[in-house]
């Protein structure tokens, strides 16, 4: 069975600083990987996804993520955070291309300080 680990429960960064959120997955085959963001009181919004091909993927809101098969990682990055990026971030894995369930990590809460 697939699983996802987000080792950082809470991260605090200054506005304008760079950000990296860690995600490690466990899955026997090529995974389908996702990052979602959840703002307070909101549903989950997809930031970016990786299926195959270029291991550096670009998403919305200036986020990017890099798939590293050798490290079983899919870390999320942003060069310069904005106060509006404060939210909870979830990494997720899916087994297949079609309509399969998502398995989520436990999430990382991001706090931005002025």
């Amino acid at each position: 069975a697939q699983s996802v680990t987000q080792p950082d429960i809470h991260i605090t960064v200054s506005e304008g600083a760079s950000l990296e959120l860690r995600c490690n997955y466990s899955y026997g085959a090529t995974p389908y990987l996702f990052w979602y963001v959840q703002s307070p009181g909101q549903g989950l919004q997809l930031l970016l996804k990786y299926f195959s091909g270029d291991t550096l993927v670009q998403g919305i809101k200036g986020f990017e993520a890099e798939f590293k098969r050798s490290q079983s990682s899919f870390n999320l990055r942003k060069p310069s955070v904005h106060w509006s990026d404060a939210a909870e971030y979830f990494c997720a894995v899916r087994r297949g291309f079609g309509n399969e369930k998502l398995t989520f990590g436990t999430g990382t809460r991001l706090t931005i300080i002025p």
Partner: protein, 117 residues
């Protein structure tokens, strides 16, 4: 509507009562998912519908939980004899047909916050 909608947004109930949570998926989406988000367990998959059938209900935690979908659209998640550990945010998501040629992004609703007293 433009997105997935869920009702009610908040539900407070007493232990032992039954509750029904509703999900309206994006029009035309054939797949529908229920997830649960709680402090202790994070985000957990509950059940997946394709049309009106549920090929994967492996995440339902007990037989007190059931779900149905009618007309390939609205879905209802029912929890019988609620317990305090059922307190959580219940999220619904929908996605397009697997034959659509797209990669089937799951679009999430805002959730129903259930509190069992």
């Amino acid at each position: 509507g433009a997105g997935v909608s869920q009702s009610p947004s908040n539900k407070v109930t007493e232990k032992g009562k039954d509750v029904e949570l509703r999900c309206d998926p994006i029009s035309g989406h054939t797949a529908l998912y229920w997830y649960r988000q709680s402090l202790g367990q994070g985000l957990e998959f509950l059940i997946y519908f394709q049309g009106n059938s549920a090929p994967d209900k492996s995440g339902l935690p007990s037989d007190r939980f059931s779900a149905e979908r009618t007309g390939g659209s609205v879905s209802t998640l029912t929890i019988q004899r609620t317990q305090q550990e059922d307190s959580a945010v219940y999220l619904c998501a929908s996605s397009a047909s697997p034959n659509s040629g797209r990669w089937n992004e799951q679009f999430f609703g805002p959730g129903t916050r259930l509190t069992v007293l």
